[in-house]
């Protein structure tokens, strides 16, 4: 990876980080743990359509680690990692078949995968099926949030080209 690309990735990481931290200051949208719009995902979705898999993984991992450090909340690290990993893996696969004009579709499916990852982690940690009853709510809101962040990324992807 050349310096330019690395710099660009670092820029994107910072961008995602700032969005992430700002979103943390917002009041929760619903009384369900883990429910949020996930604005920082705009950067992730954009990266999936502009960079290769390794670079995306680097971007996401750095953002999650730094984000949890800045937020002072290491417990959420596990949830962010499991949700983020599944989401990214899914989107990287899907972007091979979903074209740029339909990035929002890829984003929605990524959001759903993120929720699945989080729920599985919660199941493993809490060892109670109670968390399963949150899943439909997370998914319903996740679809809408994914649509929104996907559209944002889509609007940006052709207007701003940070890759080589």
């Amino acid at each position: 990876m050349n310096i330019k690309r690395m710099t660009v990735l670092a820029l994107l990481t910072s961008l995602a980080l700032i969005i992430f931290v700002v979103e943390l200051q917002m009041p929760p949208i619903a009384p369900i743990p883990g429910m949020k719009i996930g604005f920082a995902n705009i950067v992730t979705v954009y990266a999936v359509y502009k960079f290769n898999a390794r670079e995306c993984a680097l971007l996401l991992l750095s953002r999650i680690l730094l984000g949890c450090l800045l937020a002072g909340n290491m417990i959420s690290l596990i949830y962010s990692l499991s949700g983020g990993a599944l989401c990214l893996a899914g989107m990287l696969l899907l972007h091979k078949v979903i074209d740029k004009k339909h990035m929002w579709v890829c984003s929605i499916l990524g959001a759903v995968l993120h929720n699945i990852g989080q729920t599985v982690a919660a199941l493993a940690l809490m060892q109670t099926a109670a968390v399963l009853s949150y899943f439909p709510f997370l998914t319903a809101v996740g679809c809408v949030a994914g649509l929104f962040t996907g559209i944002c990324a889509q609007l940006v992807v052709d207007r701003i080209d940070l890759s080589d």
Partner: protein
Amino acid sequence: MFERGSEMKKLLCIFAAAITFLFTGCASEPAKRSFFAMDTYITVTAYGDNAENAVKDSEQLVLSLEKLWSVTYPESEISKINTANGKAVKVSEKTAEIISFSKNMNAYTGGSLDISVYPLVKEWGFTGDSFHVPAQEKISELLSRVDAQSISVNENTVTLKKDMMIDLGAVAKGYACDLLAEQLKNSGVKSAIIDLGGNIRTVGKKTDGSLWKVGLRSPESDDLFGTLTLGEGAVATSGGYERYFEADGKRYCHIIDPETGCPAESGLLSVSVISPEGKLSDALSTALFVCGADKARELWKKLGGFDYIAVTDKHEVLVTSGAADVFELDVSCSDWKVTVVV
């Protein structure tokens, strides 16, 4: 960005359908009312269109029954009967019915159920808090006043022999359940479940057609020892584990054996009766608890029309054949032996 027309339309349709679903969901919320009456806690849960009004009426009905039947309320019809000193007392139809029913049950159960044991209940201290073990002479003396067959019910008048006193504790709750169920049905309710201080009465099946799951409280712990799965019917449990006192290391429960004048000691920890009527379940659960496992089986074979689940003091669960299919032992009691009574 969106391909003209079709995908957008599809999404909008789903949105619209979802919102419609949200509103239709509102109907299946049950109407539930919980209140204190008849010296216990009562919850009436009803489903359907008129359910909300129906459960409000339920509270009124039970409160009115309490005014008629409470032995501690001086103006109640029962109190008037108990203080009439041998004179005839005019009562309402419901009161005459329930006393008449109790008299019949006394005959059917060979005396195991007797609503005139009240003087003994009082003597042992179960009406207040001053528990004590009475002297044998006192018990014998009070036993002479126990004779359900001598209660005279004529049209709507009730006459007790002098010195006799009655108390509807063994049948009132079950009877109230039946009256509540009738009232709910008259209000158009097709699915409901009544929990009257532990007496359970169901109306119809659940709204989705499935059967009710009624737990049976364990006589030994706060948990359940088993579950019943049933449609419309009544379940009542009698046991010595809720109201009792201990003296000299021995436990005395509040259910008095009309034959001995002392708290029942039949080797059973609890008896649950399933039948179509609350009053039958209530009366029989008391009677069977008093008479013990062998006589209970005899009564079951002789009378029919009900089933029971009895827990012996050796943790053996006796289930009559009619209840074997609907009874399920709880996992926490998997070491208890279940025997089907035939």
